[in-house]
Symmetry: D3
Subunit: 249 residues, 6 copies
């Protein structure tokens, strides 16, 4: 179930059988010459939708903009400050908890978000601890990247070998091609992008990785590969999500 396509009565009914919710969280940032700026939001959104169907789970609207200061050297990249994203996550969790949701599963699409997601969890737990704020059951917060499900990395390795890369990866480009086939960009790449050598800030990033990619050769991406990534991710995250719900403490 997708929250934005449900009515409040449907949510009320859902809450009688489950208090879990999946929150896709991404980023809006350059993904090289043939990667969509929305890649990191599209991937968890698409996988979350599939996971919601497979696990009969509620899916919240995607948080589309994330921590991407280091991509500001490329046109169109947007970013939130970490303190802003923490506030967004806190308000989202607390308002959903008013209705009885207490198992929050953030499905992330952007490596750069991971630190701030965990900082936000600590901030929310601190609010609960320090302000004596109550919910019916204890709030439980967890996060997974869409590529964390067993088999996804293996598939990338099998399909692309070392050309998979670290940013604007072949796998994520494939997944967006599967999701938005009408937006596939035809671009010639001369070669694999420079390998990962660290990142400081936006200027440093642009200097190290001139066209935005890190270590990838996403001309190898295809929508059919995307379908395989989608199915593998959904299948395995369904297990992870259900395990999360089972923890009853």
């Amino acid at each position: 179930m997708q929250l934005h396509l449900s009515t409040w009565q449907e949510v009320e009914t859902y809450l009688k059988r489950s208090t879990g919710i999946i929150l896709p969280i991404g980023s809006t940032e350059q993904h090289g010459p043939n990667g969509l700026i929305g890649t990191d939001a599209i991937c968890p959104e698409v996988v979350a939708k599939g996971l919601g169907e497979a696990a009969d789970a509620m899916v919240a609207p995607t948080i589309s903009v994330g921590i991407a200061q280091h991509h500001l050297g490329f046109s169109g990249s947007m970013c939130l400050r970490p303190s802003t994203l923490i506030a967004v996550m806190r308000d989202s969790v607390i308002s959903l908890a008013k209705h009885g949701f207490d198992r929050f599963f953030f499905l992330n699409g952007h490596g750069g978000n991971i630190a701030t997601i965990h900082a936000a969890f600590a901030e929310i737990y601190s609010d609960i601890s320090l302000e004596a704020w109550d919910s019916k059951r204890p709030i439980r917060l967890t996060s997974r990247n869409w590529w964390d499900g067993k088999g996804v990395r293996e598939l990338g390795k099998k399909l692309y070998g070392d050309d998979e890369g670290d940013h604007a990866t072949c796998s994520e480009v494939s997944l967006t091609q599967y999701a938005y086939p009408e937006s596939i960009k035809n671009v010639n790449f001369e070669s694999r992008a420079p390998a990962y050598s660290g990142i400081y800030d936006a200027d440093d990033y642009r200097r190290r990785y001139p066209d935005g990619r890190i270590g990838s050769l996403p001309s190898l991406s295809t929508p059919e590969h995307g379908r395989q990534f989608y199915e593998t991710a959904v299948e395995n995250l369904t297990v992870v999500y259900n395990d999360f719900l089972k923890e009853d403490r």
Copy 2:
């Protein structure tokens, strides 16, 4: 053009012909027994997409959660605090301005957001004034509701008369039915919802408007009506948007 479906080079090219951008902003909140919780995000998102095509304008990802404390009495409603939404809008504008965007057109789908959108504009202008922050050209911020385009209200009046209402209106339910025909909910309504009599907080709202609607009878909504609202809104907002870009001071 949709930012999330573009590459950074496409954005770079776009910026040579225009520095305008449309930012849909909505809310995730109950819309009565047959209205989708995402109604106020879906409507501006759909209209913004059409407007982007009609006006050759860039469209940013939708800000999906807004100011909706007063809907927290109904399951599934989410809200940001105004101070959080101000931070989100500020970071979004400032990061886009780094690339040269300087005409920001927020397309809003939720009456409850209007005050905070204008507060955010004042906050951003204050940052610029008080911190001597620069951009190539002065930043210009404006907002319109999707129903502000000439002809939309008239169409609602013609189709529904007094049954249009003030929340979970027939027109917005129609527009979401046009956008998501597979999510149309079949609900029987005994009568038009209670007329608007003020709103304080969430408890007060639920007491005044027991099923969430205000003054509307959205069993009258149809996808075909939605198409008419869509086309009318896009046509007229195109004029408004182009006028905004023309202001050269």
Copy 3:
């Protein structure tokens, strides 16, 4: 009763008969060549005092500085950021609520404050909802502009026609002349100020409206007119305020 001229025992006694309080809120910003910089604080302060007497209502000290970034192009204009004013209003409401006040009637003198006042209401209600903060009765927040009382606009139209204008209006200048006759400024105006054509930021404002006025010819203002505005506003706001107190939900 004015809070600042009362003792705490007098307030304690007042609270036994009413839990309402009027909070004047204004701005400190240019009002053209013959308008006082304090106009938008003086007007609600003076009307609130009269309303307090007419309705036996407590009147809090005036919040004198407001949202006025767009006036910073003119010497002497002061402003708060919206986030600062939200904090001021929140602390004021919450500290008064400790004593049992629960009907807060903000009487506003500045159009530019309206958005932030409503954003502050949403922030305060969110604090209450999300932090489970309690008061004896639910907190109710409302606001009116001093010129909202029935008859005030009509009086302006009758006295000045189209010369009333939109900033540094004839009516508000008259009201300050009634309140501070010793501070009347004698200024010759060649003509009515340029009509309203939009406002972005401070630089834009100064360019559009070179002497600060918008659409007005306040050489028409007189203290006697001010007296009429005062009496009309107080009479009609008394009805509005008493209706607000009557809502018992």
Copy 4:
């Protein structure tokens, strides 16, 4: 000159001869059985007005609500959090600095504000240092209490001896009686209030000082005494203020 009773052109003219400004800052809190809740705002406001006339100095609107958590045990007391007052002072200073003001003289009426005023100064200087924010001349911030002028404490000692006290003092009650003779409260006091023995929070304050006074017997206060305090304070603060302006570094 009072800023709120001036026009922007008058301020522009003033700035050619001086860049100094006096900002009265007070509190809205109980002052015992015959002291006005506004005492700590009224006193600096009245003295600032006189000082403005004596020194040809601009006087800003009074910041009426201050740091008074410890008075919340008595009806009608209001408070700001220190973080809120710091933001108010920062925005006020920075917006006035846009016009060329650079000598800020806060005239304080409340002992409880002193710490936060100095914290705000450090915050503003940190903003300047750390954000490389510029003004034509360096910003200089200072503060004095209205009773700091030479001779004021001596006068209190002479008139009241040990009955002057530490809160709801005879001198401040006299000064408000001089300023608002129509608001003099007739109250019988059995005796001098308990001497100062420390203050923690609001509950502790009320327990130690049951009627709100500390160490004072303000039945001794008279409007004529108030006039003497006023004149002494103004005379001596004029010297202090002029010395402040002379520091040219």
Copy 5:
């Protein structure tokens, strides 16, 4: 007892006999040619350790960086904004209060911190008052400077007369020499530093006091003097601390 050298079971045992805790708070800022940058953190840390032993009191880790914008003109000085230090103190107090600590004794080493420490106390009490936050017994917050203990100033006067000074004082330099004899710096001073003449910001400070000292001649400092300061401070603060614990309201 030092918190950082204890186990949680030892703290649990301690809490059965006392709920008091000493929190050293200092600054990291220049102290002239022979004073250590850590002087203002070292002094309260060392005295707190002695006081902890003498009074059987728990000692928290030192807050080492404080309010020192005015020292940024000298290499190595660090500072927090007051709003940051307030947050640090609030989180520290609130997290310790979860365990039952309710008597917080801040032992300060830096005059520039005093205002912000008291602002933080007001902020914490406001949180308690305004958010209805509970602890077993009321929280009590107090602070003392390490030199406040009876006898310390007298000792400085006796040893150094007018050469004691106001910053990089002979007494504090002696105390750090006692604490860190291996870090004694041999520096020749031509003369006593310029006397205190006020401080605005960092640039102003450096201009007034070119080598960082104010009014002192710390070539007079010796480790043996440091020992005397240490013993005097500990002896007298033990009385102060025990009196603080005795206040049972």
Copy 6:
């Protein structure tokens, strides 16, 4: 060199040969029955001191309190909210950057801090990008845990095998025993602590890990082991630190 034991002239001299600085950052939280509450601050402080000597690097004062909400179920644990720690790190970096420091090497002692440290880096870089704040050379921020140096984990494995554990590990207890031999606690352990099975909040932690340890048997710890960990860590981090300084972009 340790900043707190240096004079400002010594720092000025240091800056001519290096612009790097090491900032130890830890936590103050339970470490089981024989682990010190200060373990996570002591370890990086001690290693940083050694690293400073080995690499001729400046070492800042330790940030002693960190992200430890999940330990609040055990007496004596303290925590900062992530938003507070971000502010502390931002102010520390920005004030040091005023003097010319531009290579910031945070040496961390607490796994729970890692996410927030990286969030703080993104916040600081965002401030730089979005506010156009300048330093002589670009600011570079990095962090390492004290146990990241090559060989440390291997040593733990060799000495303790699977008894090393994940919290209150044998290695960190050994390192604190080496640093503070007078504070070694003699405790009998029946067995290794429960293995890591996830952590949500403080209540959950206490339930899963009743005496605070995770997976360790720190009765195996010795000061001599501590010396080996110290030397291994310093040796290897010296290489890492020098590599960091060499990156010249």
